[in-house]
Amino acid sequence: MNIVVLVKQVPDTESLVQIAADGKSIKKDDIKWVMNPYDELAVEEALRIKEAKGGSVTVVSVGPQKAQETLRTALAMGADKGVHVNDPAAEGGDPLATAKILAAAVKGLPYDLIICGQRAVDEDNYQVGAAVAEFLGIPHISIVAKAEVLDGRIRCHRSIEGGTVVVEAPLPALFTTQRGLNEPRYASLPGIMKAKKKPIEVKTIADLGLDPATVGAAGRKVVIQALRLPPERKAVRMIPGDTPAAAAEELVRILHTEAKLI
């Protein structure tokens, strides 16, 4: 079973995100970068399938030099090799342009199954997985909470409103992960040592046979016009009172005299 996992390096959700001077991107300094949490689920699932069925796990990422840290993390968790598309022409793409690069990178690899996060938590587009499957002409199952590899097929459980739907597709196929699929393992210290020696193949857009004008910022069909931070929430006001009754009385007073709601 040859499994390919698509991973992305994203800002840690606890990072303080600030909008850059252009108003269309974020400031990239002083941010902690981590593997997209949904991709961690994908790596873990791939490793579990490999442990049960044998085979190999290859992780693929598109991004600047720094993104190699995320590939190393996946290798430290137990993946066998990495492919890093590192080319300035690949940067700034929309989901479709990025999917085109990933599909081209995967095409050169042996694969029976592709797993990726349902979305990257930076831009929340939910599109790359589906688009990669489309480019490769293989079935795609989204937001999977449980996966079983059968003989030549994959069976996936998806949570829907009020229940679960079970779907199957012939391999090769691509599925995207949902929380609860598994609990990702930690990269162990010996694992990190070993990962230093595992191969990461670096590719450019030209290596993949793509036209630079069709990918990255140049290939964008969806253009970001502006980024805005969510409105700041007002501080919560605690209603004082030694007893519940006194607090309730104070609340009524505030609603009546200050907020003038009652």
Binding site: E183, A187, S188, L189, P190
Partner: protein, 549 residues
Amino acid sequence: MEREQLEFDVVFVGGGPANLAGAIHLKQLAQKAGREVEVCLIEKAEAIGAHSLSGAVLDLKALAELIPDYAARGCPLEETDLRDGVFYLTPRKQVRLPYLPPAMHNTGCAVISLSKFCAWLGAAAEELGVNIFPGFAGVEALYDAGGRRVTGVRTGDKGVGKDGKPKSNHEPGVDLLAKVTVFGEGPKGSLIREIGKKLGIFSGKMPQVYETAVKEVIELPADSPFWDSPFTVIHTFGYPLGLDTKGGGFLYRMKERRISLGLVVGLDYEDPMLEPYREFLRFKHHPLIADLIRGGKVLQQGAKTLAAGGWYTMPQLAVDGAVFVGDSASMLNVQRLKGIHTAMKSGMLAAETVLDAIGKGDLSAAGLRGYAARLEASWIRSELYTARNFGQALSRKGLFKFLHLGAQQVSGGRGFIDPMKTSEDGAALKAGHAAAAAPAPEVDGTLYIDKLTGVYLSGTQHEEDQPCHLVIPDTELCVTRCWETYRSPCTRFCPGQVYEMETAEGGRPRLKLNPSNCLHCKTCEIKDPFKNIIWTCPEGGGGPGYTIT
């Protein structure tokens, strides 16, 4: 349980400036000598620098010795045009000191973010081939069968649930074995505490004393009056702490319209109702500071203790198989308010000794004695020895401190009494719980923020499902003697709101812990009057996520 073992020549425990400089220097020396040394460095933070917080004004002396071309190699210095202003604050006014003692001059130093600086040192160490493992906490020192020789360190298990049982992703810690283990855990390390009990490295020394700093990085508007201030490095004393509690404020200029603002509070304070965080807010509201920071926005906040005891509190520096560096070994110069350059230098001297000792094959305490000898011959000794009674004088009440300081100034540090004694911070609290007279300082959520917003802005994260890393041996004591005598000072001295007292049924107080808020500052273990809080390392990778502090 069988644990995996990994062998190195030298293992550094902790990724602060002392150990990073030590690891770099060790590799440099080995390269020069054409020798192979396998070096490993572990750090409990998720990234090197993520738990590093300091003022910080760096004396560039040690850095220039370690990496002479640091500027060309992109060392992140925030400000090199240092113009000192020291102010005595009264509640509404300030008086600028016309004369600065030589130790307070910062010309030739640089303002840095310790977090950025450590990340940079970490990258330099990695380039030299140091195996750096962020996200791995040392939880236990390892000993040989005789129990006297340190043989390495055990890293913490990961994936253990609240109930202490392994989870599906359980990853047991490993034993890192080394010829020499270098402990640079910062102030109040949880491993050195246990080593101290076992091998007596603190016996015969004066007790270590500490200070807690709360610090913020604030972004100021382009038209802030601070940009026209004649001073880029401001220190204050007096208000809000007064002259009976040691400590003071600082405000330093950084790059990108940012400043570093903080208040340091000596943990030998006596009033159990004192709250360092609240004092920090009061400091910010002082007209001198409030005018300078108007229109600003807090970008990051954090807190950390520093070991301020100095020369007479320095532990035994080497035991069989291990040495101690940086704040762990009391290298900070409290007179100059600086400890990074001495920490780095101590790491470098330790590295020289360790390489020597490995070459000679004698890794016993005697074989590592060269570390103390090198230190004795270095500028660390001249700095720290001159300042040997300085912190103790500052602890004196009111104006008496100035008599002592003046006498020390003219006698090379000897003063009226030498050595002046230190005493344990935890024992300093006086019984009583009169409510603070001053009203609570105002917060606005942007420039003046409450503790929990501060915790949020520190980027602190812990795995929620893990055993509580704060061990309270006697929780009954919390709601009886401690509550009655001091009204639970943990709820005030902790800058992360880890400790809260709830009212349980029947109106009885009950201790509630929020260990996920922990900033790893260790004030609690130091200041608890009953020594009823033991700080242990939570799962590796947890804690603050400082990037610009």
